[in-house]
Symmetry: C2
């Protein structure tokens, strides 16, 4: 997949251990043979990329945090001025969301200074079942990752197909009554969607088709933040 099979397997194991995993759970989640899963998990443990608790469950290890925190996140650093510019260009609050399993995390924001505005504090966890950012974070995921969620979503598979076609999403009164929003993807160098950039505000100002008004600015901001 990346061309280095051991690394591919190691990353699958790390992902499977995010919420803690016994060996049996690890084997079940990764579909790796037990000996392979055991051997690689132990090696990750030796490198402190995993730790093993008293019950024998593997969890993310401290070295991940050490490596992650060693340098500021390139995306977050670049996002600050871009969100500010987007807020100023559109006159609405702007946010950046990362996916966290079945939720989305607001990791950066630039808030409209005055008047009626949608405030999403940094660190907020919002649902993945409503809102234009959720649509963007899900639209390019494999169907098997999306299907379990769709019955609980305010949008449908058809909405997500439309998002893929247009390259952006809009929502009206999905996450919250009275709020409309527009979102676009931020992609990594391989083209994978890693975050969503959004503007949001009252329906009174944004209208029932907020994409007509702001999609271009949001898409452009997303493109500028892609590939970092």
């Amino acid at each position: 997949m990346s061309g280095v099979g051991v690394l591919d397997k190691a990353v699958v194991i790390l992902a499977a251990c995010v919420d803690g995993a016994s060996l049996a759970e690890l084997v079940d989640r990764t579909k790796l043979p037990r000996a392979t899963a055991h051997r690689l998990a132990q090696a990750l443990e030796i490198h402190r990329l995993l730790v093993r608790d008293a019950q024998g469950r593997w969890r993310p290890g401290p070295r991940l945090g050490e490596l992650a925190n060693a340098a500021p996140d390139v995306l977050l650093t670049a996002a600050e001025p871009m969100l500010t510019a987007l807020r100023d260009a559109t006159g609405e609050s702007a946010q950046l969301y990362l996916r966290r399993a079945d939720e989305r995390l607001c990791v950066a924001a630039a808030e409209r200074a005055s008047g009626l505005r949608d405030t999403v504090p940094i660190g907020s966890v919002l649902p993945m079942t409503a809102g234009s950012a959720a649509q963007v974070l899900l639209a390019w995921e494999p169907p098997e990752a999306v299907m379990p969620l769709l019955p609980r979503c305010k949008f449908t598979g058809r909405t997500l197909a439309e998002v893929r076609r247009r390259g952006w999403a809009q929502s009206v009164a999905e996450r919250e009554a009275g709020v409309a929003s527009v979102s676009a993807p931020i992609r990594d160098r391989t083209g994978r969607v890693i975050a969503a950039i959004s503007v949001s505000g009252p329906i009174e100002r944004l209208g029932r088709r907020p994409g007509d008004r702001h999609a271009m600015a949001v898409v452009r901001a997303g493109q500028r933040l892609s590939g970092l």
Copy 2:
């Protein structure tokens, strides 16, 4: 080293990219052949464990943070009650330190409630060149990792040998005038020192040989936090 060579190399590459690295720098820091370094760095990039900026420098990628933040740090969770118990048992403030290159980071603390006390706020960055926690964090490091630091340290190689022999360290007026401290190692399951646990307070109360008084309690707390 862990028994999985590709993983060993990948981790070396991740560590070398912490402050950003071009391919040439990566090759120089890791001593890997250039084709190997390039191939593995690209694979890490595909997995978003590294990102590559516009100048072609690799940096820690967002997936590290995603994996790290997914679950609370086992050690920090366990440390809270242990530091409180150590503070109560010794009557002095207690702290937990992680190594960060040439500094140490206080990541947890339990402060003595009243009277004369050493306050180290969580998040503080302290030097690696003075203090008993620094001695503990360095004592079991390979000589080549320690030698460059020693000329600037308040202690010597002999001090570190003594720390290894005793299993703990003490300092008097090293990091700060009037402050004495005792520290012990916290180890992972492979026996590697990953943190230092300390008590600290005024020399008036701790004396010039604070280890006589508190080493046993500190060592025991360190042992209890080891292997998580």
